[in-house]
Symmetry: C2
Subunit: 229 residues, 2 copies
């Protein structure tokens, strides 16, 4: 199926879902490590609109936007595990929740991560309300996609990996076991899938990176408000 390269970075939950998808499909690929503080010319050339990871390069052609890439991977390497279900209604439901995550849940958690004080408390409560909605999607299910791992598990995978990094680096509690028993159980199931577990980003590196990033975002926000943090 030709040459595959993934422009990737440790800190991006959007990039991580693509790494998992390629591994699940058994696709051989080369990882192009990106430093988001100093993006490569290649990344800027391949994703001129958004200038972001992930970018999947397949036989020299770039594909951007992580949900678009996930569908591309599923349609291109379609002889093994399918990520999306076959039924149009189940596919629509999957796409709806994937969009909900990317438009609402993840940005809200990011806001809680990069803020402080009253603003952080507000963002935290907003995130918890969104996670309440996510929790309900797991009723009676082992994975978001049903009995086996699928598209939505990769999309919500950041909850398993990055939420505790956000908690540890920004001092807030988000994933409470009592409030979110189904997500807590899912996190266990998800992290025990061999391909997922074998390709789990290094926790120490993530914590170090997320501490740095938080300082950067908070001082940038303070500077734009003309205040000293």
């Amino acid at each position: 199926m030709g040459e595959v390269k993934l422009f990737w970075t440790w800190s991006s939950p959007y990039a991580q879902r693509i790494a998992w998808a390629l591994k699940l499909k058994g696709v051989e690929y080369e990882t192009m490590y990106e430093d988001l503080g100093n993006k490569s010319c290649l990344l800027l050339a391949y994703n001129p609109i958004h200038k972001k990871v992930p970018v999947l390069l397949h036989n020299g052609t770039p594909i951007c936007e992580s949900l678009v890439i996930l569908e591309y991977i599923d349609e291109t390497w379609n002889t093994t595990t399918r990520l999306l279900p076959e039924d149009p209604l189940a596919r629509a439901t999957t796409r709806f929740w994937a969009k909900f995550n990317d438009d609402q849940v993840l940005p809200s958690a990011f806001q809680a991560y990069v803020s402080k004080g009253v603003e952080q408390e507000k963002a935290k409560n907003h995130t918890l309300e969104k996670i309440d909605v996510v929790e309900k999607q797991l009723t009676g299910k082992k994975f978001f996609s049903g009995e086996t791992l699928g598209f939505l598990d990769l999309v919500f995978g950041w909850i398993a990996v990055y939420l505790e990094i956000i908690e540890e680096t920004s001092g807030i509690k988000l994933l409470d076991k009592e409030r979110f028993p189904l997500i807590t159980a899912w996190k266990e199931n998800f992290s025990r899938v061999p391909v997922i577990e074998e390709n789990w980003p290094d926790k120490e590196m993530l914590i170090c990176k997320y501490r740095q990033m938080r300082e950067y975002f908070i001082s940038k926000a303070a500077a734009s408000k003309g205040t000293v943090s």
Copy 2:
């Protein structure tokens, strides 16, 4: 294929693309007119997360989010005209630009429509930069999807219908023929496709509605800033 209902309103470019898609596919459906100032209990029950049109009700099951609905329609009524191309790479490109439109171009034009003065000038220039990017996608093509009408034409269809309504009701010029010759030519081609032309929203009703909506949004923004507009 069962009972189909579309929760729709005149003013929504997101709802209009679904009406066109159903007509193109030859799907018989009932239109459920929604007044967004006074949403029906049914709309709130079928789309509790976003509380927005469009909602497609197929045999009693609601499908929400217009891009998700478009893919559902294409997969469910798949024996006639296909909206998405078959090739995975072309599908990825289509999904990328659809997302770009919905995340960036349409919200930017909406911002120009509901603002005034310096803020409007800024939003207008931002929108023009986004439309520059859209213009380039038509190089050497009759439609966004190629030689025949497809998914992206329905997504960008609001440019043909609603941009002149925005211009007329908010007093700004966006679709300049000199700056956007390809979009201007596409608008002609698009509006001449029989199914599109026969299901074009009434211009007078749209102008009346958009004038009302603009007053509402501007006075709401002024109230939240504590100023009198």
